[in-house]
Amino acid sequence: MTDALLSVKASPQAIKLDPRTKLFLMFVISTIMISGSIEGEAAYVRLVLMCVPFVLLLTVKRLKEALLYVFFCIVAWFGEAFLVYSTTGILNILIVMLSGLILRFIPIVVLGYYLVSSTHVGEFVAAMERMRVSQKLIIPMSVMFRFFPTVAEESRAIGDAMRMRGLGNKGFFSNPVTLLEYRLVPLMVSIVKIGDELSAAALTRGLGGPGKRTNIFRIGFGPWDVVLLTLVTAAAAVYLLA
């Protein structure tokens, strides 16, 4: 019986990384991506780092998304490297803005997607506990995982109700404040209500007791963690020294 349970718990990922590795990757890659440019030696560092989200997407079997990601990266790189110099006027501004934004943010967004979709809340909590983060911080952070899908779900329902009552986005430009209010007030009310019920439910399940909490998720560094950590650290070192 326990075996059956454990087998469904086995993760569908080809390479399993420790959440701490993921956080470190996130930190280094986002810093370098946002601050760097495509010229000089730093460009090679960025090129290497841009491959990391691609590989990670493959490990969670997201082939289509991974190819799309590569496509966008190549186009944006091409834009920033060549088109910028061969165009003028508004077109030039557009290309600079778009390719700059895509190149800087897409790897981060993809990495964030990977982080959230491949990490159990329990693993995340375990990682935070190992890093000796206080429970007072861990609990709200773990609720965030649940909070965003809830907001999305509620917001969709409210959007439908608005369209049903003829309050769609068409009138947005004539009356943006009212429309925003129509959308936000019910959203806040239902989120507060859900939050209130959720807190009550959590209390009846023993959250916040003084004893030590168990965590059934085992985390730890494996060979792939070492590979990625070394790679990223090396990249960061080159980037800083260059």
Binding site: T2, A161, L207
Partner: protein, 492 residues
């Protein structure tokens, strides 16, 4: 043993729920006690006194004592109470702390600091007890309401509390999920757990209840033994303001009026969410104008998708609706249809009840709006903020919006979930009034009594198809009952 002595409770400011007056009650180990009575009678409050949320979470003034095994709840920290008392709540959407089911199942045990081996054992046991193998390691946001409630029962069960407190657990469930819930209760009972359950829907509890307690205005006014419950006739339960304990003899059939010849012709109602198998696949369907149809079927049978497509909410939908005067395109339908959603919180936007009605009208007219409010018994509340109302009142405001909009087709999504007998009858009257104005009405519902009281036709959905489209005459009623009782028959 649970003992309540002279318990009085009044909520602090900001809570509209009614309190309790002089409750004296002893519940023995292994008993299943049902708390019933109209909305606001104090059932929920009583359950909160037992699981410690009163006085530890909900504020107010509490006198008297609530003891479990001789220990006073108000003096015990709530995480201690949590080891003895497990709670299942009404709303399946708001009792989850995790995103995936496996973490959720482990959550309670982890909080209590059980060793890892033991947690795995307890989880395995809960999975087997509640047969939820197919739910493990899935995203909770992708589960149906019934599946969520089943998981909630299993998660509570995993920590092994001796006492279980359930607050209207069946409110959002279809007939199959209610049957699953009944099995869960049976499992617990077999293990000798003490169960306290507050509920409106009573029929599924008939064979399980040891004692039924009737509350009114926060006080216990009557107690029934299990034998008395079985012999209660429908008239008697109705006088007590309760839903019946027996389904079959529920309600008399209302005579059918002749239907209009004009019809709404639907063709090509096929729709699938991205990459999935079609959620609805109905080739053609005719609905008489001005009729009230009940849409029945299990969760995930395509009822909601059908409604959303009909109302024009799904932009990619290509199906066709026609009447004598021509075609209704997606955008036309968005203009001509109205849906009263299950959660009224999502569709109230303005700052007062009156504004809410005015917002729905094509030409705002205060006098007409007040008339609508009068019909729905809402006129005294017209200047209040919709969000300050009780759940039932909000639901009525949403209905008022539908009436005022004067749209031709109105969908109701489970308008009676969690309603007591009185409010269910009230909703039924309002919907029939709407029909008298010539509207065509569709109601998605899992409420057998309500269908008999309100509807004239049944559309039975199964895996996206309509497998039954029949009037509610004598034969139709028998067919309807068959659908609602199918599960219990399988068991015998």
């Amino acid at each position: 043993m649970i003992e309540l002595r002279k318990v009085c409770f009044t909520y602090g400011k900001g809570e509209q729920k009614s309190g309790l007056r002089d409750i004296n009650l002893k519940i023995h180990k292994g008993e299943l006690v049902l708390l019933c009575g109209e909305s606001g009678c104090g059932k929920t409050t009583l359950t909160r006194c037992i699981n410690g949320l009163i006085p530890h979470y909900y504020e107010g003034s509490l006198t008297g004592t609530v003891c479990i095994n001789g220990k006073e709840i108000s003096r015990m920290p709530i995480h201690e109470t949590a080891r003895v008392v497990g709670s299942v709540f009404q709303n399946p959407r708001s009792q989850f702390f995790n995103v995936d089911t496996t973490s959720e199942l482990a959550f309670g045990c982890e909080n209590m600091g059980f060793p890892e081996e033991e947690i795995n054992m307890r989880m395995a046991e809960a999975v087997a007890d509640f047969t939820i193998h197919n739910l493990m390691d899935r995203n909770i946001f992708k589960l149906s309401g019934g599946e969520k409630q089943k998981l909630a029962c299993a998660s509570v069960s995993a920590t092994g509390p001796d006492i279980l407190v359930l607050d209207e657990p069946s409110s959002n469930l279809d007939s199959k999920a209610v049957e699953d819930l009944r099995r869960a209760l049976k499992t617990w009972k077999k293990k000798g757990k003490t169960i306290i359950i507050a509920e409106h829907r009573l029929y599924y509890l008939r064979d399980l209840v040891d004692r039924t307690i009737l509350l009114e205005n926060g006080a216990i006014i009557k107690e029934f033994t299990s034998r008395e419950i079985v012999t209660l006739q429908q008239k008697q339960t109705e006088q007590l303001g309760l839903r019946p304990f027996h389904l079959p003899s529920s309600t008399k059939v209302v005579p059918l009026e002749p239907e209009r010849d004009e019809t709404l012709d639907l063709t090509g109602f096929t729709y699938s969410y991205r990459g999935a198998t079609p959620a609805v696949a109905v080739d053609s369907l005719q609905i008489p104008k001005g009729s009230i149809s009940a849409m029945i079927g299990l969760n995930g049978a395509g009822k909601s998708t059908f409604a959303r497509c009909f109302c024009g909410l799904e932009e990619r939908f290509k199906g066709i609706v026609k009447d004598n005067n021509g075609l209704w395109r997606n955008k036309d339908r968005l203009r001509r249809c109205y849906m009263v959603m299950q959660d009224a919180n999502h569709q109230l936007f303005t700052e007062s009840v009156l504004d809410e009605v005015l917002l729905s009208m094509k030409k705002p007219d205060t006098a007409a709006a007040e008339n609508v409010l009068l019909d729905l018994d809402l006129l005294p509340l017209k200047d209040l903020h919709p969000m300050a109302l009780s759940g039932g009142q909000k639901q009525r405001v949403a209905v008022a919006g539908a009436v005022a909009s004067d749209k031709e087709v109105v969908f109701f999504d489970e308008p009676t979930s969690g309603l007591d007998l009185k409010h269910m009858q009230y909703t039924s009257t309002v919907i029939r009034k709407l029909q008298e104005k010539g509207k065509t009405i569709f109601i998605i519902t899992h409420d057998y009594e309500f269908i008999l009281r309100t509807c004239r036709r049944v559309l039975h959905f199964d895996s996206g198809k309509i497998i039954g489209n029949y009037p509610l005459d004598e034969e139709g009623t028998a067919r309807l009952l068959e659908f609602f009782l199918i599960k219990s028959r399988e068991e015998t």
